[in-house]
Symmetry: C2
Subunit: 99 residues, 2 copies
């Protein structure tokens, strides 16, 4: 049944790649690979306003890449699919081919 993927499947897959197709979001994902972080920490990391970062995180969450956990007044995000970290090696080799 995986032999002939439907258009809907490709659309859903593209959604995941789209979530990763932003330097700030990649930076956050890498940071989250080292442990959970609250929104304000990530905002300081990428140097954007909190509303902006919050929207980026909700995109990642919507794509199924991260999950959030509200504790008190803070919201902590964590990487829920660590296998995306494997992408970076391949992407690095892709970039090596760019002239």
């Amino acid at each position: 049944m995986a032999s002939k993927p439907s258009v809907a499947q490709f659309k859903a897959q593209a959604q995941v790649f789209k979530a990763l197709a932003h330097p700030g979001r990649l930076l956050m994902v890498e940071e989250l690979s080292r442990g959970e972080r609250c929104v304000c920490e990530l905002a300081a990391l990428v140097g954007s306003e909190m509303p902006t970062v919050s929207r980026h995180l909700s995109q990642l969450k919507n794509a199924g890449i991260v999950d959030d956990d509200k504790r008190g007044a803070q919201v902590f995000y964590r990487l829920v699919t660590p296998c995306v970290m494997n992408f970076f090696q391949c992407v690095a080799s892709v970039r090596r081919k760019q002239t």
Copy 2:
């Protein structure tokens, strides 16, 4: 030196993900994983006009994912970094977490 990736590196990485962040382009990449194809074959596959497909392919080429080879009047594209195919398994597991 890979311990503290720069903003420029993340931008370049995001470019690769951006190239994959489109259902039609994913479909083409998967087709190319089974062998080289000319533009007209890919156009028929995704059901778009040839100029549209040509631009998608130049995006993939620009990202370093595919390469082209002009033979006569036709241009054949092939996957130059097959490791991107490994992404699909992980992405599938990501999607499984989407509610």
